[in-house]
Amino acid sequence: MTEPPDRYWRAAEPKAAYEVVIVGAGGHGLATAYYLAKNHGITDVCVVEKGWLGGGNMARNTTVIRSNYLWDESAAIYEHSLKLWEGLEEALEFDMQFSQRGVLNLVHDLGDRRSSMRRVNANRLNGVDAEWLDAPDVKDFCPIVNVSSDVRYPVIGGTLQRRGGIARHDKVAWGFATAADRLGVDIVEHAEVTGFTREMADGPVNGVETSLGTIRAKKVALVAAGHSSVLASMVGLRLPIQSHPLQALVSALYQPVLNTVVMSNAVHVYVSQADKGELVMGAGIDAYNSYAQRGSFHVIEHQMAAAVELFPMFAHAQVLRTWGGIVDVCPDASPIIGLTPIPGLFINCGWGTGGFKATPASGWVFAETLAAGEASDLAKPYALDRFTTGALIDEHGAAAVAH
């Protein structure tokens, strides 16, 4: 554990021009700024944020970290991310309460078992740690899970990634911000991007218009999660993204009962217990498009029912606070990273419900892409043109709730 730094990031005044302007000071935008400076020596970077830093999905997610994705392309980027997580506190000299307490995915039926085994086997051959647990082993690993066969959807097993876990979400954003700031990156909060400047009407993007004035840039990087479509539409770019509410909740504080992260796709629950003692839970997305950062209450009620079946003792727990984020969902539940049809404009979005765990790698590969002006190897499969070719990276099959 390292102490908090003496100083977090500065409140920078934006200069007139930068080499790179990053739109969005969430985890991914800040990680991008940090790796631009750290890995590529590009420090003439400004991150503009319309609200407070890390105040979007970074402040609202349930902090699950894992890399046990099915497809090679996904495993590659998420495993790269997990490896970065494993050295991140040291690299940034920042305590993020990163805890590798394991992520346990419960399996409830034979079809679920088949696809889980497929994933476990793929993970192993991709160098991602993965184990299959039979129901008694699930019980041993996480004693409060109800593995009785006398429930509606009995737990028949599970997959475990021991290297998975959680981290303190806010501190991750702050860690990247503080480290990027030290390397000379300007971070400007409360500056809303209202448009883009271009060389000619249809020419390359060469800056952003903000509520604090115009900021020029050789390269503009959109890292705006749920608001990506809104920003892209300012330059006439249409994306295959829909913005949905995703709700989460915490309980009151309880003595430790849950030593790992448990996810169940079949009944749409994922839960962990934070160090302070609250249970942190999420559910599936709300059906409709929304930017309101709130969803419908029946989603929470269904989640409670499922949670109580899986963890009978949770019947006594109390919901303390519920909230919603705006998730940017792609048709294949995989992100878009790379160039756009508009020169000068780069994009990193579509992480949907799974962006937190990818924060370091997302920043890493996007920085690489920005620095080189072309997609890095890990980013290539995530190009926007996959929606034209049909080469989707469909993780829906692997995890209907992809966190």
Binding site: P312, G390, L392
Partner: protein
């Protein structure tokens, strides 16, 4: 210590136990008031530092007195101020952290109900009662307390309003009922506490009036968390409402008029007021009244700190000129201003503005058209105050801001010193506002400290948002009837289900369906039973309950045209009486479902779907019909549950059918493969189809649902001579895999085209369009190296490839290893006497004859790639 009190019944005493000691309280008490009445001042401890904590408020804003309730209900953590006293209550102090019981025993039960009203009033204080009186139509008033009237002293107006409202026909008044959250379109979720069964009201209101009142807030000074330090208005409530003097000698510290009023009320109730420290705007009449009553009032003096073993024994005060003095006191009443209870208003994105006169955040702008906010919650009638946030001191590390997080003014300033500027960031650094009260007493204070540290005005930044629920609610209550032990998800069973149960068949969950998995005899395990069942089908005859297959009737003059667009092959050329297998694609060109289509009449078709896909397929068809092709005269009806479907497979099946007696000939020439006949089977009206999912001679017998069991039993009798054998889903899977028939959702995963499955023959090549056709031409879907369906024969014929095994060309032992495919289905085939598998493999059709390897933990299984068919490749068996 009883001094009267309008809210308690002095003739009705209740026994309760706290921390192992028995006490008496009164009906109408809260646990907090009863503890105060019994002189219990230290209720619990603080969560991190373990400092003693007592009652600081009289409501849900409580941040000090946290308890666990052990009986007669269970609640791991709750403020004592929110627990209504009942006889036999057992509680104990807790440091803000609860202990969850080991299982669900005793969890709060709750029913859910739905209400529709013209007006919902949230809050039964005087503002709420007034609003309710003005409202017409169906009116519902809810209040979180066990009484109406809010925190106002009881008055004849409250009495009159209540009397009027309870007699109105269409007005209901529910106490102990908390509005947890206000949602879109006048939807409000209300938790009514009751034993043994609580209630959740889902209210849809044409108009919602928030009359949620306001909460008094404290001022921070050294050791302000000591038991005996209390909000002034709370002390007044204890005196006036509960008839409890929370102490004997009090110092009062106020920055507005209401603190002076509280002091007067306490004085009148017999609490000695040592001194009143008034840092508020001039309120001469109030000061005069106090002085006339003999109470000392010092203007400009403030509290500097407190003293005491655990409970307060003395208060250090400081004068405007730097003077200091100490007063003996066991009670310190603090009145730091009021915060309108805007949590519900904020929850639906209502705006706020800072009001200078009252130094608080009040609703600003309009909310949704159906929402109003009134009374103190709207900032009406809030006392003007002189902002006074915390007592200046060198050391601010014992000036507590959030008692539930042991966070202090020093902690906030340390955060701002580290350059955190947003109240949201400070909350996340200090955890202030994240406990049970969600910052009711600490939020505005924190914002003021943050604003001050940046030299900004007090309204520059507001407090962080509280979120629903308004107060915590048990998981079991929200789950309602669905609180376990079993999730209330519908269980779908076939009409023949009872027969399977009587045969002790284990069931497999397939979506919501329960399907018999296998039918063990004696001590047979799954492999033994499946071995026997499969051989019975191959050699004699077996029957399976196929009723769960989805069945949709498509009817209308354009039904044939419609089906041509839905399926990849042509259905319009099907003749009445015939059957055709069909694949259905999503718009993305990927296989979506499969099944057979029977033409029942010129304009009537019956399509079957996979068990899991039935609802999806019906939705899909209806969506296209209604949204893209409303000109097509066709409609779809699900008939899945109307039919019992029995699949009889095996070479002896014709003889069984003949023995059973049919009203139509069943020999192969009269009743060919892929046709259907209607008539009687065993005297029951039936539709029989010559379709086979095993490759054997097979008849699918459909009878109206309620004849399912009798038909099944008749088949069992008629087939006894042939050893007719019931079989389950597992044998069905083996039999179809031996023939290379795919199961959509098992051998496919949403990324598989018909061409990948080797089913190009099912995709018509003419110009006509069908759903998904265009996607099949995209550059990625025409790649030659896509994964294709193949068969696998393990080199060792008794080695079973696990389903989900990944395949490599060569097991290099080096990670990462390039994978070329995966096993989708794998079984020991009884008829072949060896294991077989189906797999999706890159360029699979070009690999027939090649070896692939499945590296597994501890072993690698080698298998030869084959065509995906293992038995009766020439199809000789289907006609018996």
């Amino acid at each position: 210590m009883d001094v009267g009190g309008s809210g308690v019944d002095r003739d009705s005493s209740l026994g309760f136990t706290f921390d192992g000691t028995d006490y008496l309280g009164l009906a109408g008490d809260t646990l907090a008031s009863a503890l105060l009445a019994n002189g219990v001042d230290v209720v619990g401890a603080s969560p991190i530092l373990g400092r003693p904590r007592g009652v600081v408020s009289a409501g849900v804003e409580e941040a000090g007195a946290m308890v666990e309730v052990g009986a007669p209900w269970l609640d791991p953590i709750v403020p004592a101020t929110a627990v209504e006293l009942v006889d036999g209550l057992v509680a104990m102090g807790r440091p803000g952290v609860g202990v969850l019981p080991a299982d669900a025993t005793g969890a709060q039960a709750a029913d859910h109900r739905h209400l529709h009203v013209e007006t919902l009033v949230v809050g039964g204080g005087i503002a709420g009662l007034r609003a309710a009186r003005e409202a017409t139509g169906r009116v519902l008033v809810v209040d979180e307390r066990h009484h109406v009237g809010g925190i106002s002293p009881w008055s004849t107006e409250i009495e009159d309003l209540t009397a009027e409202l309870v007699t109105r026909d269409e007005t209901a008044l529910i106490t102990r009922a908390t509005a947890l959250g206000v949602y879109d379109d006048g939807y409000v979720v209300i938790y009514e506490r009751a034993q043994p069964v609580a209630r959740v009201h889902h209210v849809r209101a044409a108009r919602v009036v928030l009359a949620t009142g306001a909460h008094e807030r404290p001022i921070a000074f050294a050791d302000n968390d000591r038991p005996g330090v209390m909000l002034a208005s709370a002390a007044r409530t204890y005196v006036e409402w509960f008839g409890v003097r929370p102490g004997n000698r009090a110092v009062v510290f106020s920055n507005g008029r209401s603190g002076l009023e509280s002091a007067m009320a306490l004085h009148e109730a017999g609490v000695e007021i040592a001194v009143v420290l008034d840092v508020g705007p001039a309120s001469q009449p109030h000061r005069d009244r106090l002085r006339e009553a003999g109470v000392e009032v010092r203007e400009g003096w403030a509290v500097a700190g407190t003293e005491g073993e655990s409970r307060l024994s003395a208060v250090h005060v400081a004068g405007p000129g730097g003077e200091s003095e100490t007063f003996d006191a066991d009670l310190l009443l603090v009145a730091g201003g009021w915060n309108p209870a805007v949590q519900l208003w904020r929850g639906i994105n209502g705006g706020l503005r800072y009001d200078d006169a009252t130094a608080c955040f009040v609703p600003d702008g309009a909310g949704p058209p159906w929402l109003e906010i009134t009374g103190a919650a709207a900032g009406e009638g809030i006392d003007p105050v002189t902002p006074y946030w915390y007592a200046p001191a060198e050391d601010l590390s014992h000036h507590y801001v959030d008692l539930q997080r042991d966070s202090t003014v020093a902690d906030v300033l340390a955060a701002t010193d580290r350059r955190l500027r947003s109240t949201e960031h400070v909350k996340r650094e200090t955890y202030i506002g994240t406990a049970i009260d969600q910052g009711r007493t600490s939020g505005v204070l924190t914002a003021a400290i943050v604003n001050g540290a940046q030299g900004a005005g007090p309204g520059a930044q507001g407090p962080t948002n509280a979120r629903p629920p308004y107060t915590p609610v048990p998981f079991s209550v929200l789950a309602g009837l669905d609180r376990g032990p079993k999730l209330l998800d519908p269980i779908r069973t076939t009409p023949i289900h009872r027969w399977h149960q009587e045969r002790d068949a284990p069931f497999e969950n397939v979506g919501q369906w329960k399907r018999p998995w296998y039918f063990p005899l004696g001590n047979e395990d799954l492999p033994a039973a499946v071995h026997r069942e499969c051989l019975a089908v191959r050699n004699e005859v077996g029957v399976m309950d196929a009723s769960t297959l989805g069945k949709i009737e498509i009817v209308g003059p354009d039904a044939a045209r419609f089906l041509d667009r839905v399926y990849t092959d042509r259905m319009s050329t099907l003749s009445v009486g015939s059957i055709r297998y069909g694949l259905m694609l999503g718009l993305d060109g990927m296989v979506f479902d499969d099944g057979v289509v029977m033409r029942l009449a010129e304009n009537r078709f019956l399509a079957t779907t996979t068990t899991g896909g039935a609802a999806r397929v019906l939705d899909h068809m209806e969506e296209w019909l209604q949204t893209e092709w409303p000109d097509l005269r066709a409609h779809c009806t699900s008939v899945t549950e109307q039919w019992s479907t029995i699949a009889m497979n095996g070479p002896a099946s014709r003889r069984v059918l003949e023995a059973l007696g049919t009203s139509f000939p069943v020999d192969a020439p009269s009743f060919p493969f892929m046709t259907w006949r209607e008539g009687e089977v065993a005297g029951i009206a039936a539709r029989v189809a010559r379709v086979s999912f095993s490759g054997e001679l097979a008849y699918e017998i459909n009878v109206p649902g309620w004849y399912g069991v009798s038909t099944w039993e008749a088949l069992m009798d008629a087939g006894a001579a042939h050893g007719i054998t019931p079989y389950g889903t597992e044998s069905m899977h083996v039999l179809r895999a031996e023939k290379g028939f795919v199961i959509v959702g098992q051998d496919t995963d949403g990324t598989v085209t018909p061409h990948d499955l080797g089913m190009s023959w099912l995709v018509r090549k003419d110009d006509s369009d069908f759903i998904g056709k265009r996607s099949l031409r995209r550059s990625d879907t025409i790649r030659p190296d896509r994964k294709q369906l193949v068969g696998l024969l393990p080199v060792e014929p008794d080695q079973l490839l696990p389903e989900g095994a990944q395949l490599v060309e060569r097991d290099t032992g080096v990670i990462p290893m390039a994978m070329v495919g995966h096993v989708t289905s794998s079984y020991a085939s009884p008829i072949l006497g060896r294991t077989i598998a189906l797999a999706m493999v890159e360029s699979g059709r070009a690999r027939h004859g090649q070896m692939l390897h499945a590296p597994l933990l501890g072993a690698t299984i080698a298998a030869e790639v084959t065509a995906p068919i293992f038995y009766d490749a020439e199809g000789a068996r289907r006609d018996g």
